[in-house]
């Protein structure tokens, strides 16, 4: 048996290629610089979310002279793709190759769980800015968005009070969906609410395979539901909302978390009108930090700022203040950053002031009820009222 020369050459060149990638890393030990690794989906299902996050982080850098805590930032952006299978190698590379001082970003909960493990093992702070599953240990982990069950907890009392009768709960069958729905269902039933679902349990739709929701919507129409609560994001949210408006349940009020946030609202169009949803941000919030944020954002992008952009902007703000706490002249280290984040106190944000919960390391913050309506000629999520302050 001989090994054809072509293949030997192939094997050797492969080895050489892999070796090449190892040689272009630079050393990051210089006291005036800090290396930040930013992970977000720049391709795949969550691309628009990932781009909002990257742009939010970049906006903070651009409006602060490209510096965090007075030190020049070397920002290394990595593509998270559709989930952990792409996110984990990308993040591993940031840690092992670029030797970043801190990680930030991360769109999906599954990616977060995998990257959190990596950050903790390598003792690097991770400032997550989107999905956040429940974590057993929060050492090295920080969060600027919210824990996945909090939107449901925040809106459940409002739904209980304003809907006369049982509510049907439906959501996608993955960890993030389970967390979101659990927050709502547990709080709602604790307040004496009754689910309209026939077996008293949330209906799960296969994820990511479901694009046809009509069978499920038809099932809702068979119950005595007076309203529907759901959590969907991305393309599933578009399909769900559009088909909802054309189904037997079109007249039932639809409540949701996330459902209409970001670029998907354009795709949903008029079928999204009147949907009430809960979030920690609305672009029309009236506070100085938000006025600055919205103005700077609108000067650079022709899309509306989203909670994704806002939370990443805050992640940069958190790092800014934490790095500033490291005495000038001293090298920035992951451990110093991590300790400094823990001592930050109140953070002034476009969403209103918030602070890290000492237990979960995610924000204690105010939640808002919003409704999709025309803002001029464009559909937008407009603020209806403040809901509860949740977190911790």
């Amino acid at each position: 048996m001989t090994l054809p020369r072509l293949r030997s050459a192939l094997a050797l060149s492969t080895v050489a290629l892999v070796a090449l990638t190892a040689c272009n890393a630079e050393d990051a030990g210089d006291g005036g610089k800090v290396t930040i690794g930013f992970v977000a989906s720049l391709s795949g299902t969550y691309q628009t979310v990932g781009e909002d996050m990257r742009d939010g982080f970049q906006l903070y850098l651009d409006t602060h002279g490209g510096k965090l805590g007075g030190r020049t930032v070397d920002l290394v952006v990595a593509d998270e793709g559709d989930g952990p299978q792409t996110a984990l190698p990308a993040a591993t590379r940031l840690v092992q190759e670029d030797e970043v001082d801190a990680l930030a970003g991360v769109v999906a909960g599954g990616s977060y769980a995998a990257i959190a493990n990596l950050a903790q093992e390598n003792k690097i702070p991770l400032v997550g800015a989107n999905a956040r599953p429940d974590m057993k240990s929060t050492d090295w982990l920080w969060h600027t968005s919210y824990i996945s069950d909090e939107p449901g907890i925040a809106i459940a009392p409002y739904v209980k009070e304003n809907v006369a009768g049982p509510v049907y709960a439906i959501g996608p069958d993955y960890q993030g969906g389970h967390d979101e729905l659990r927050g709502f269902v547990d709080t709602y039933t604790k307040l004496g609410g009754v689910l309209a679902n026939p077996d008293g349990k949330t209906r799960w739709t296969p994820f990511p395979g479901t694009s046809d929701f009509l069978p499920y919507l038809n099932e809702i129409a068979q119950t005595n539901a007076k309203a529907v609560y759901c959590f969907y994001a991305g393309k599933a949210a578009v399909d769900f909302v559009k088909q909802y408006a054309q189904s037997d349940v079109a007249d039932l009020p639809l409540y949701g978390a996330f459902l209409t946030e970001g670029a998907i609202l354009d795709a949903q169009g008029d079928s999204a009108k009147g949907i009430r949803n809960v979030l920690n941000y609305s672009p029309d919030l009236d506070n100085p930090a938000n006025r600055t944020f919205v103005a700077e954002w609108s000067a650079r992008h022709d899309r509306q700022p989203t909670t994704f952009a806002m939370a990443s902007y805050d992640a940069a703000a958190v790092l800014d203040r934490a790095i500033a706490a490291v005495p000038a002249g001293q090298d920035v280290s992951p451990e110093l950053i991590n300790n400094a984040i823990g001592a930050l106190g109140t953070i002034d944000s476009p969403r209103g002031p918030w602070q890290f919960s000492p237990k979960t390391h995610s924000p204690i913050q105010r939640w808002y009820l919003r409704e999709v309506a025309l803002d001029g000629t464009k559909l937008s999520n407009l603020l209806v009222e403040d809901l509860a302050t949740v977190g911790g």
């Binding site: 391709s43 795949g44 299902t45 691309q47 628009t48 799960w204 739709t205 296969p206 990511p208 395979g209 479901t210 694009s211 046809d212 009509l214 069978p215 499920y216 038809n218 099932e219 129409a221 068979q222 393309k235 578009v238 399909d239 559009k242 088909q243 408006a245 054309q246 189904s247 037997d248 079109a250 670029a263 795709a267």
Partner: protein
């Protein structure tokens, strides 16, 4: 209680008819030309993207989209035929691998051109609204689609069963050596069949865009579902594919409600069983 299953069942028919249109093209290329075209789903998506781009909420836009989708599918079929020519005689597997590479590269180009979102066309107002169906609301477009696709399917079946062209197609599908016996030019048969298969996929993509819209994952979904239909329907049988497509539509629509735990496995399990049951005839 039967009422509860009415809408999912009707919906399953719409879905099934859509899948049938796609799978009919695959059946044709596999049954007659012997090409396992793994780029078939990508042609579907191409038709879908064109329809979405041309749609502007008018009937003209809708018609243009359908025409463009069909035309592009036809062209894609011919392109594939051209690409397959140099490897003629290298067997099914080389063909399958080539079309797979085309699917991968073509899918990437389409995503580059149209973005990563799953798109939907904007429909004429009359179609973009619910209609009343036995006291239930149901999307008007899907109801219309059932009508159009049923007519198309009927034409297809009549074409294959009642015309000389159909007789030739059936003869060749039964035994590929019949091409020579019938005095047909095998190259013309290949080109025609690939073009027709592509046109069917393109048309399905254009008309089916409001139901199964073009996006980064759509090509894989469509290809795998059509493969199941082609296999379960008996590898090359148009009538068999029709029954299989309706069944797959029902599993996807009714199945997820009635047996949510088992529905996902059902399709590939059926495919495996059908393959093993028929393996002798198609062992080559």
């Amino acid at each position: 209680m039967a009422d509860a299953y009415l809408i999912p069942a009707v919906n399953g028919v719409a879905y099934g008819l859509l899948l049938y249109t796609v799978a009919a093209g695959l059946t044709l290329t596999f049954g007659v030309a012997g090409v396992l075209n793994l780029a078939h789903g990508t042609v579907y998506v191409l038709g879908g993207y064109l329809a979405v781009s041309l749609s502007d909420g008018t009937w003209t836009g809708l018609a243009l989209g359908a025409l463009a989708g069909t035309g592009a599918g036809l062209a894609a079929g011919l392109l594939l035929w051209g690409m397959l020519r140099p490897i003629e005689g290298r067997g099914h597997l080389a063909q399958a691998l080539l079309t797979f590479g085309v699917a991968l590269a073509g899918g990437a180009l389409l995503v580059r051109a149209f973005g990563t979102d799953e798109l939907r066309p904007s429909l004429p107002a009359a179609l973009d609204a619910p209609v009343d169906l036995f006291g239930h609301r149901y999307p008007a477009y899907r109801l219309g689609f059932i009508g159009v696709a049923a007519v198309l399917a009927l034409c297809g079946v009549l074409l294959v069963r009642r015309t000389r062209f159909g007789a030739a197609v059936r003869a060749v599908a039964d035994d590929r050596d019949m091409v020579a016996v019938l005095g047909l030019d095998p190259r013309a048969v290949m080109a025609g069949v690939l073009a027709a298969g592509g046109a069917l996929a393109g048309a399905a993509g254009a008309l089916g865009a409001p139901i199964l819209g073009p996006g980064p994952r759509t090509a894989d979904t469509t290809l795998l579902l059509s493969l199941i239909i082609v296999v379960v329907g008996g590898l090359g049988s148009i009538g068999g594919a029709f029954i299989a497509a309706i069944a797959v539509g029902q599993v996807q629509s009714l199945g997820v409600i009635v047996a949510p735990d088992w529905a996902p496995y059902l399709l590939f399990a059926a495919m495996g069983v059908a393959l093993l049951a028929r393996r002798r005839r198609w062992a080559t």
